[in-house]
Amino acid sequence: MTNSQLTPGVVPGRLSPQEYSANFVDVAPRLSAHEASVAADRCYFCHDAPCMTACPTSIDIPLFIRQIATGTPEAAAKTILGQNILGGMCARVCPTETLCEGDCVRMESEGKPVEIGALQRFATDTLMAAGRHPFTRAARTDKSVAVVGAGPAGLAAAHRLAMKGHEVTIYDARLKPGGLNEFGIASYKAPENFASAEVEWLLQIGGITVVQNWQVGRVGDGTVTDLLAEYDAVFLGMGLSGVNALNLPGEELATPATDFIAELRQSDDLATLPIGRKVVVIGGGMTAVDAAVQAKLLGAETSTIVYRRSQGEMPASEHEQDHALGCNVRLICNAAPVAIHAVEGGLEVEFARTETTGAGLRKLDDTFRLKADQVFTAIGQTLGATPEELKLAGGKIAVDGAGRTSLARVWAGGDCAVGGEDLTVTAVAEGRDAAEDIHQFLMGE
């Protein structure tokens, strides 16, 4: 290893092998049985529990925690997975501080919630480690459904439909299933290939065929109309495959943060992954934080998030901001990019200071430049191409409460559809609920 954190430019191998593995271990390792029982004992078994209301998939949290407390973690897992088939991933990636744990009554009494996420992981890991799939398929129907996208929304829909006895085919554009679980989530949240292990476990239900490298709309693959001809119903869970453009001079010098993260997630050897000495990330959400943190963990000397509004307005939760700051990521707020310049020995990103007025965000004349070797943009993802007949709303597929789109026999859910936050757990809830509605529709026919 000849490179170090101070090597100029964008180079691989800035750290020792030990440093790479230490940096990318599980951020929140699984609780031991003892830790789980102590944590479970803190739950009050609330009536009509607020935590449960706050969970987008409405997991019966007091019940599953009681099942852990009484020494039956596999029963707890079944309670969880019955509502949320990706309960294992959600236990790792949900921003619990703004969901279930944020509403735990123990926040009110002690400012420390019951560790719902960690307990959920304890239960689901126990079951998955035993290699058991706790659900069985209902008798086969003669119906078949096409699911587009093997992300959380598509997987949840497919599992529920298969469980109801329908034949399901998932079509996914990438070479591997999992969606952003596989290509987006920060690596330290779900290390050891958890995403692919979970998909494999989920498919044990049977009745689901996965077709990879098949993109709806791509010549040679097929269209939604083609799918409708072949299947009784179609579920669209294709996420957001595009990214917002910066629309600035020099924007071609920046890389979408999601591409960087996808490459990182698929890398077998982090030491081969080039990273800049000075990294600048433009944005303020979960993606910006994940990119900046992981750049730092890969050995960048400095990693700076620049967000155009105030810190309080950042879409990334306080917990995530703290995590970034704890990893020595720098945070600059109230600064919007105006240009990226190629200069001697690297790049410079030019920012204008901003202020929020009644009329919205305003760029001031006060500007500054940040030196950078690598610039990532994390300013939002956009919907990819969709059939023209499909009605959109605010850049996403318009759906009603049950996920029905404007096209007959076509449902949609997850990031590509309107409604809910763009979170793994929301995608699961929407996929599951659409599946229930599809089932009703198919059986009512």
Partner: protein, 438 residues
């Protein structure tokens, strides 16, 4: 710091906290360390007759009941009396007493139910300079199968007979330790008193099976696949012990008989409660077995702090103070009315009070959209269940002053009146119904 000195049937100790006869007092090493930690006295682990000692099992001898976070709430044991030779115990007792003359040292005894056995052992104990003897009529397991322990304690005539033998054969104060495994605790206490006992101590352990191993289908603790009932002790038994102490303290026949309170004493507060119900001192076993000898330091500081706050100068000011307040149900004031009140500032909105009242009580708590819980006075019967289940202790009982109308019954709160004169009571002079024909 309040004066905690205690004089129990003439036995003096620097504080009223004694270790009960059990493993903590089984040998010189333990007892010396207990005294060093601050215990006021000990009752030495029960001695048997001369000759080959009893043998204990060599597998697990304790079972347990846990609360949250594996907190020990109750322990059960199948241990016998001391399994060390009599002469070794006597030698050690003598040596410890010589070095700690200011501490109480009482010797627990259990020998066969014949006068000769008692006549033989008493002089040997006297020779150690111990302060007194405690007759173990309590242990419910093992020894009872051999006609000792609770097998004696369950027959008042035997208690009286043995106590009399002891009193006739020694000048030492004699404490009779009672078994709770009996339907009316007053009977053995009266028998002890008739036999001349200086005091009773209670309770010994309660017959119990703590748990069943669901793989082996056998009771725990399990010895080679089999189990037996054992004696239950610890915080879980305190309510049973308190009631038995109170029964003896307030009964006509035994009033004034000194009591050493035992059963689940874990904190200074438990000790004060036993004393308020008539115990002159307390004995402790499970708390020491769970946390070590050091727990006595909290008991000492806590009791003395409490007495200072109350302006009490001697523990005798606590002893028996609650006894006059223990009465029969029929004398409770039926015109006393309270209503639960929820302190909204402290409420964390867990809804436990609601679930309890709605599902199992009187549907007297309302829950509104934003999870505000309020008591409906017109339904609340003041059962106290919500207070008991609230995790943050934010529900209190408000007493309705005389004259205020109880919205549940529509009647104004009146003067004291109890069941004996209640119109619904067939044996009251005011009975409003029709008495069955004579």
């Amino acid at each position: 710091m309040a004066d905690l000195r205690s004089d129990f049937v003439g036995i003096k100790s620097p504080n009223p906290f004694w270790l009960a006869s059990a493993p903590p007092t089984d040998k010189e090493y333990n007892v010396r360390r207990a005294y060093e930690a601050g215990w006021g006295g000990v009752v030495w682990k029960t001695l048997g007759s001369e000759g080959p000692p009893v043998v204990n099992v060599s597998g697990p001898r304790y079972g347990v009941i846990y609360g949250a976070d594996r907190r020990v709430l109750g322990i059960n044991n199948i241990e016998l009396i001391t399994d060390r030779p009599l002469e070794v115990n006597l030698r050690e007792i003598k040596s410890v007493k010589r070095d700690y003359p200011d501490r109480a040292l009482v010797v627990s005894l259990m020998v066969p139910c014949d006068e000769a056995s008692w006549k033989a052992i008493l002089p040997l104990v006297e020779e150690t300079s111990a302060d007194g003897v405690e007759l173990n009529f309590g242990c419910p397991h093992g020894m009872a199968e051999r006609g000792m322990g609770s097998a004696v304690g369950q027959v008042p005539e035997y208690i009286e007979m043995v106590t009399r033998w002891v009193k006739q054969n020694t000048r030492m104060p004699c404490i009779v330790k009672l078994t709770p495994n009996i339907s009316d605790i007053r009977k053995p206490a009266e028998a002890a008193k008739r036999g001349g006992a200086d005091a009773v101590s209670l309770i010994n352990t309660i017959n119990s099976i703590t748990s069943v191993n669901l793989d082996e289908f056998a009771p725990e603790p399990m010895i080679d696949g089999m189990g037996t009932h054992g004696g239950y002790c610890g915080p879980a038994v305190k309510p049973i012990a308190l009631n038995m102490v109170a029964e003896i303290a307030r009964s006509e026949a035994t009033r004034g008989l000194p009591i050493s309170g035992i059963g689940g004493v874990t904190t200074w507060r438990d000790a004060a409660e036993f004393m308020a119900l008539g115990a002159g001192n307390v004995q402790v076993c499970t708390a020491a077995m769970t946390y070590g000898f050091k727990v006595v330091q909290e008991m000492i500081s806590g009791l003395s702090d409490y007495m200072d706050r109350k302006g009490m100068v001697s523990t005798s000011e606590i002893v028996g103070r609650a006894v006059p307040k223990v009465t029969d149900w029929q004398h409770l004031n039926l015109n006393y009315v309270t209503k639960a009140v929820i302190n909204q500032d402290d409420c964390i909105k867990c809804g436990r009070c609601f679930a309890a009242c709605e599902d199992t009580s009187h549907q007297a708590i309302a829950m509104d959209e934003d999870r505000t819980f309020t008591v409906k006075d017109e339904e609340c019967v003041a059962c106290n269940l919500c207070v008991d289940v609230c995790p943050v202790d934010c529900i209190t009982m408000r007493e309705l002053p005389k004259g205020e109308t109880d919205p549940r019954t529509g009647r104004a709160v009146g003067d004291y009146a109890n069941w004996t004169t209640h119109p619904n009571n067939p044996s009251s002079a005011n009975f409003c119904g029709v008495r069955p024909a004579e």
